[in-house]
Symmetry: C4
């Protein structure tokens, strides 16, 4: 039982990169796509009835699998963390309220409730299978960022929406007055004028309702220009929010990773903070060539997880978590002195040559640490190439 | 009389967060929504006459309430500030010219004037109730920012609009020449061609006027591309403006709040300026859990207003304005050592873990102040956990 | 003759802010608007012939005035600068090639050439009056910035347009294949498919050509998403360009202005550079109240040009170019200690309170200069208020 | 044979700026435009058959030329780099996989494969000539940047697309329910509703499918607003990505170029890094006037490649790679003291006056280097003008 729990946990862990979890995810994604496809196909009037029935069955089966997935995740949730005194049920209750828990609940619950109140026909509960697209949210950290930006910039965004509403309402009152006598079937009520205003202000422009009077058209032109301005404001606000949020996220993640690199323990916190602002994480599979002897080097790497092998003489050197490599080409400005291949799935931090130079210029102590290690390696490797550029 | 004045003042104060003001605001918002809804519904031709009459009465009643609100605000305006030698009427005159005063005037005056010149029918003065949406501007600081950005970036924005107009006019002259013979009913005058150009340049594209000749279509394609470029320019300019304005606003607000934290009086102005750039204000209601013992800590808080209770042993500790908490988890990198709950409505300044690390790295004196206090607290709490990471 | 030349020069000088130049500019703008209005009105088929004739005459008269303006500007061009050995004709030739010269040539030349090749009817040469809108470019520095941004970001912008063209061409070939059999009148040739693709990729969506096949609609959806992505790329590139350009322009202008403030001569270039990054220029007319005694102060001012009067006791103090004021409220955090009014049209540099605090924190030498002067003034003014906050 | 190889290599080298390569590129671009034009024209039903045949022949001939170009490039690929032990075939294999190699393959291969499976008629394989537009990618570095930005910002971009899909699916299910009974021919299946949703969410708005029910229109309005918000998010994310990428690219390129300027060898790496952030590269043809005596100077130049001649007395001075000029006007604030003309095609690094002042303020050692050289030159030139501003 415990073994099964562990097995399931290993298979559905979102952060792992083993073959089992990858296959599980691909299967999950496939089910989502099939389910949504079946929901769309089921409403096609031209389809023969037995295909429609097949679609309905497919959705039911996939739903059952997702319920199983939900229960499994709920079951193994306590394995994800040390309990620290909490009961397993408290941890499970917490998981239900977590982001992943809510996404999974949205996957299984609405369709079940829908089946209770509506019938299981193509135009009923199975349509809720479109919500399964939310399952992909599990694999991207982008949504969290979008959410944080939305929260942070809510004041100016609300200001923009207020302007939007004000323009919308004023424009529709004016258009209603200008057009209602000329085309009473199009602008016969304020709500019709609102429909015109919203299609115009968002620059959608269906063309089903178009002003005909000179004043109506002048108004339309102004509303359109307001529309692109509102759009520009929104883009501007969100651009600012993203810029700040991205910087913050990168810094935080890198700080944690840099803290695991022993070479950097003696470097002051200022240099660490600078470095954390510059490193870019890279996830690479096993047997990837990271550097090829003789080619120009454009970055150096810090290993966070996994192992790499540098094909140096007299015998290949294996480096593991906390070590760095690729710095010689950056220091000398010459080509790579060795081919480096990953032995296992690796998590690396890449320091771009541009950033390397900037940080080496402003933080000589960091450069010294790297230089010392590079000198040691060049000596070790038994090669004659001196590190001229100190 | 004085008591009534104070009572009203307390109820309508925009900055307070008491139950009375919140209920008043919700009621205000509800009236706005009902009023606008009634204005829209009143023009619906399919509605029975007595419902339309009801809508008109509703608008009139809400208008009367807003007049009452306006007069009350005018009356109690002097309570908002110390008079410093000004007469109460001078303060009231000033309030009329203030942002809130103008918004409130826009709420009550146009509809009153409209009722004088037009009649009180669904298509007359009551339509001006849509202006009531502006009342929401009272609750957002976003509009001020939008306005400041508009003023600051007016030169390039005007440049963009000039390009817009130039493209518009040239394109409509060319389209007029290309199309007027093929479709005289669509492009029969320059003003018709202008209508086509504006719908195309803003990428609205109603489709009521579409070029048919090859040259006209080529021109149309170019105008569309110009349109998205103009849009991009506008978004770009406004993004830059927002970025600067947001930074400025946050800095200013935080500086004022930081100045109220006595722990930071001995820290130099450079550290204060850095800190003011990083803090994020948070408004939390009473009885909110800010930190839960055992959970990871992602920020520390400075209290500006209100009180919080930390559930430490031997007895809970109450902290008030000018104190900070949550720093231990950031310093040790471990979980929260105590659960902290707000006792009253609190105004806090949150220092994110990312920013904490950055500022601790560049401003050791600030770190020392926080570290000292953390050590004292860990000692006070009688717990053995030492602050290893110094 | 010389006097007339000087008189004209004074009237048409773009940088001056005298009453004469302002009236001249307003008159110029009015002529442009009347001319464009007449060109648009002239093509209205419903207008009686004598009104059309009036429009044509109006355009001719305005054109003649613009020719006069052009010749006058050409004549007085040498007055704008010291000749330094150049002949007046060399300066005039140079003026013809300058930005203003080209704008003015575009105003007068095309319409004259047009009158030679086409006839002077509403659909002929007078339509070129729409080019007069370019005359407004004279009054905005925004266009220069747009141009510089375009030049600087041309590489990525060209990249975006290349992607745009690639998507356009590939999409139209695919749509041509998918739709040409179903609707040969809409997608019967590649150029028709291109027309559909461009209206879709720019999200204009006239709706005159719409895919009907399932594949065509799927393609359409993809093209639309590409469209908004291309748009986002363009906005993103231009936002970055603007951000850099705005910073550069402000820095340059402020540096020149700061250099004229004698108080700052002893401050190091680093502080000057910081200050130049923060100051905001303000152009205020005479008799404007810049600060009102008792009100909170949110910025201090450096005078570049013009004079202001501070209503201090025992007698009002007049300050001129190179002096600063408004610093006391920023230093003490209290209200303004004096009302300050401009005596003439002034050019000022405003230092925002947010920026003042930031720069005072990082540049103590600058704070000292300002503090010293503030102390002297408080002593001078005979008021007891000491400058506690040092 | 070797000579021919070298000749071809010289002609097709993308980085060279000789007359031969420029002509070759223009010819290449012309062929691309003719080819695409022929592909578009070929499908025009109104064209006489012999013109269509001509178009088909033209495409075939151009294709043959491109095959020749591909083979030539493949042949001379080894000349582009020192082999360092690799065989020429290894280099050629590598070239095939390089960016240019893939672009060229896309130019020649699909059309050849197309000719095998489809027939050589206007609606068959020749349509693939539209892919030739990709050949322009060779001449812009913008696409690389776009690609890097896409990779770097893929997480939030994927988040936005997920939101896009979620809104799309949910909106189409709701619209399907609201509209399918009112207009079964427009919203009769979920896929039809999806078509409406995608045209609305991208704000394209063809207008072929428009909601008619009140709920459908309300939904439509919400979808449109979501559309512009999604667009704003995308623009915001990409703006941030571009900002970072542009800074990175400029820094890297300038660092390499600055390293070739001997005057800067004694300056510390910090100053070099600052300088690399500020320089702007400029490519100028021979006989270009870079500075004109007596005119105001707005930037100084470092020469990376090529030669310039300064018309100073007693005899003109020629400067080559590694030297700088134009600094005197920046140092004195006066006009240019000499006219400088390029003698050959030059690669320069321009330091803007704004940046010059900023860097001179923060890096006095750099200013000293430039000042020393300026003094020497003013002495050398035998002119009396002293460098007062030190």
């Amino acid at each position: 039982m415990k073994a099964l729990e562990t097995l399931i946990h290993r298979m559905i862990d979102e952060h792992a990169l083993t073959r089992a979890t990858l296959i599980y995810r691909m299967f999950d994604a496939l089910l989502v796509l099939i389910g949504i496809g079946a929901a769309i196909a089921g409403t096609q009037p031209s389809l023969p009835p037995h295909v429609v029935t097949g679609c309905l069955y497919a959705i039911a089966v996939i739903w059952a699998l997702f319920v199983l997935d939900y229960l499994s995740r709920l079951w193994v949730a306590p394995l994800d963390r040390d309990l620290s005194g909490q009961s397993v049920w408290a941890v499970r209750r917490e998981w239900i309220g977590s982001r992943i828990g809510i996404i999974d609940l949205v996957t299984v619950l609405p369709i079940a409730l829908g089946a209770l109140v509506a019938d299981w026909t193509p135009t009923g509960a199975p349509l809720l299978a479109v919500l399964w697209i939310a399952r992909f949210a599990r694999y991207t950290t982008g949504l969290d960022m979008l959410w944080r930006v939305a929260v942070r910039e809510r004041q100016p965004v609300l200001g923009v929406f207020l302007i939007f509403l004000l323009v919308l309402l004023v424009a529709s009152v004016l258009a209603y007055h200008a057009e209602r006598e000329v085309q009473p079937d199009r602008f016969g009520s304020l709500s019709m004028a609102l429909w015109w205003a919203v299609t115009t202000l968002t620059t959608t422009g269906y063309g089903d309702t178009v002003p005909l009077t000179p004043f109506g058209r002048l108004l339309g032109g102004i509303v359109m220009v307001c529309g692109i301005t509102v759009f520009g404001l929104l883009a501007g606000i969100l651009a600012t929010g993203f810029s700040n949020e991205l910087r913050r996220r990168d810094f935080l993640r890198n700080w944690d990773l840099v803290a695991q690199v022993p070479f950097l323990h003696d470097v002051g916190p200022g240099a660490i903070a600078d470095l954390a602002n510059m490193l870019r994480p890279r996830e690479v599979p096993a047997r990837t060539v990271l550097a090829r002897r003789g080619q120009p080097g454009d970055c150096m790497y810090f290993i966070v997880q996994g192992e790499v092998e540098a094909a140096v003489k007299p015998k290949p050197q294996i480096m593991g978590p906390g070590e760095f490599f690729g710095e010689i080409a950056l220091l000398t400005g010459g080509p790579r002195t060795a081919t480096v291949v990953t032995l296992s799935q690796c998590q690396l931090l890449a320091l771009d040559i541009a950033d390397f130079r900037a940080i080496a210029a402003s933080r000589p102590e960091l450069l010294a640490v790297i230089q010392t290690e590079a000198d040691r390696r060049l000596g070790l490797g038994g090669r004659a190439q001196p590190a001229e550029k100190k």
